[in-house]
Symmetry: C2
Subunit: 333 residues, 2 copies
DNA sequence: CATTTTTAAACAAACGCTTGACTAATCACA
DNA sequence: TGTGATTAGTCAAGCGTTTGTTTAAAAATG
């Protein structure tokens, strides 16, 4: 049996409340009893039962993270950033993965509520109406990570339209005019739709024609990048640049271009998105937009902490800047 | 205020115990009251307080994962595998990262004990004596992941000596005799020392000389692979193959070899370890030993589940097989 | 119809801790 | 020396559940 306050109390000859207060550093005891209590607690190897404590304090010092997929480096790094700050503030992290499925998201919001988490970080899926509604009902302090959300929920993310625009602008500045895009699924607003929007805007603003047939959809994975480029080259082999909505697809693009007997960047330039380590492994190294995943994580946790503590947020929606990484896969023409 | 059993009980006009039993599916109530209880519970949006429940049942349906680093793809994938199975069994996962630091490990074992987790998965560091001792004292069901451990703790891992041997043997079978190694730090027994051992054994068994100056230590990261190869080539530029203890270092090796004006695999063959996605991004693609990270994760969770349920384990130490991935970075000479 | 069995529910204690209210003894000070 | 503060505690309730025991009523049995 685990040792409890009662055990200590009996051994020292005081009541549980006294022991509790002493152990919590409330100065309502004589030097001697304090000393003895600490002594006995140590001897017995007392470890407070946080469950019991939580029941009365109504704080669990635990926050829930609802996230798409841990095996995905992007999310893993976000999670890592979150965990670091959570631990700094003495919060534990319960991680639940959803695969971006609405059903799972709802399930975990409920579960985490039942587990009485002090706060929730939401980094999954498209946040459908059902989730927002449930979140509102459950009244758990929540911060949304890496997702824009119309609600008044606080959030921290990057501006995908703008950053995507920047990547394409960089290609244009290097003299490229026929630029294809490997997109993600547009159902995913953030990394799908918004990046397409940025691409289109950049072309428009520079009087370049947007040709829908040069936008091929992938699934963010390497293989789909290969497939996409094969398709693009079939449609128009005179393109001089490709913008991929993820580094994996960008690397796939490079591989496919080479396989087609063309050279990167001599014949076709490629730029990716994320700054995944994979971008440095390819040959040539893939130019890309570097996302601050870990910062995304820790900023959201810092934010959540403030919300939990009832502090006022100076900004409710934080946009973190990305960085353009110029690398060998892009050349001036 | 959250709605409790009491609220439902009052509204229906029965006692809390009746409501509790009904909601838990214990058939001790009339059809009508049951129906009414369910109805009222739904109307009020009742969600059981798992903290209160845990206090009495002494089960939290939560398991703790102590892991080195979530930002590291290897561990992230292990964690992902764990989470999938945990969720299948309705267990939540509290994840704590340690950076492999003994102090952090001890801190989290204690913390998780206080949080009354039902079980512990340990995938961090070298598991020093202090940890083993604490684990024994706390008496939480524990499974060790990806670490060999002398104790009688159950564990699931790969056989690093054997798999490393296999990689080197593959090079030897391809006619290579002068094989350098980029190792990890030997303090890390599993992926450091053991892989060096496998390398040496393979050489010995094939009557090849082990030359210590051809073993250069890296830190598993890409950059260190580059550095290591530069050093190796300085020491002996007539080597024909390199075995890297990680894919990142392997890719770094390929980059450095190319930079030195040599060709992979024409001049030097390279093989890595892990089958990280990065191995497919490099040119040529990196041959490697594929580790079953996700399986490592889910097997350990399956194992822990059995321990928690008090079932007998048919094997206490599980070794998972790896797979040799033959790719363009190795050629026959 | 009396007695036993079954059913439907109430009662009460317990899980381990925190915390507000109360008490008795000691101390300080005018 | 009497009054008020302070100190060092105790007492008891409560957090939201579960669960063993008891009770009252209904149903079944002989």
């Amino acid at each position: 049996m685990a040792v409890t306050l009662k055990d200590i109390a009996e051994k020292v000859g005081v009541t549980e409340s006294t022991v509790s207060r002493v152990l919590n550093g409330i100065p309502k005891a004589s030097k001697e009893t304090r000393k003895e209590i600490f002594q006995v607690a140590a001897d017995l190897g007392y470890k407070p039962n946080q469950i019991a404590r939580s029941l009365v304090t109504k704080k669990t010092h635990t926050i829930g993270l609802i996230i798409s997929d841990l095996a995905n480096t992007y999310f893993a790094r976000v999670a890592s950033g979150i965990e670091n700050i959570a631990s700094k503030y003495d919060y534990s992290l319960i991680i639940s993965t959803t695969g971006g499925q609405e059903k799972e998201e709802l399930k975990y919001i409920n579960l985490l509520k039942e587990k009485q988490v002090d706060g929730l970080l939401f980094a999954s899926g498209r946040m459908p109406f059902s989730c927002k509604k449930l979140l509102r009902e459950t009244e758990i302090p929540t911060v949304v990570v890496a997702r824009e959300v119309d609600e008044d929920l606080p959030s921290v993310h990057i501006n995908n339209v703008k950053e995507s625009y920047r990547a394409v602008k960089y290609l244009i500045n290097n003299g490229h005019q026929k630029i294809a895009m490997i997109s993600g699924n547009a159902d995913d607003k953030e990394s799908g739709l918004y990046r397409i929007q940025g691409y289109k805007q950049a072309l428009n603003d520079n009087k370049l024609e947007v040709r829908e047939e040069l936008i091929v959809e992938g699934d963010f994975k390497l293989q789909s990048g290969i497939k996409a480029v094969e398709e693009i080259l079939k449609r128009d082999s005179s393109i001089t640049a490709v913008f991929a909505a993820s580094d994996e697809m960008g690397v796939g693009a490079i591989k496919a271009i080479k396989k087609a007997g063309l050279k990167v960047p001599n014949d076709i330039s490629v730029i990716g998105f994320d700054n995944n380590i994979i971008s440095l492994a390819s040959d040539p190294e893939l130019a890309t937009i570097s996302q601050p995943e870990e910062e995304l994580g820790w900023r959201s946790m810092e934010m959540l902490y403030k919300v939990i503590k009832g502090e006022e947020l100076e900004e409710k929606k934080i946009y973190l800047p990305c960085e353009l990484k110029k690398r060998g896969s892009v050349r001036k023409i």
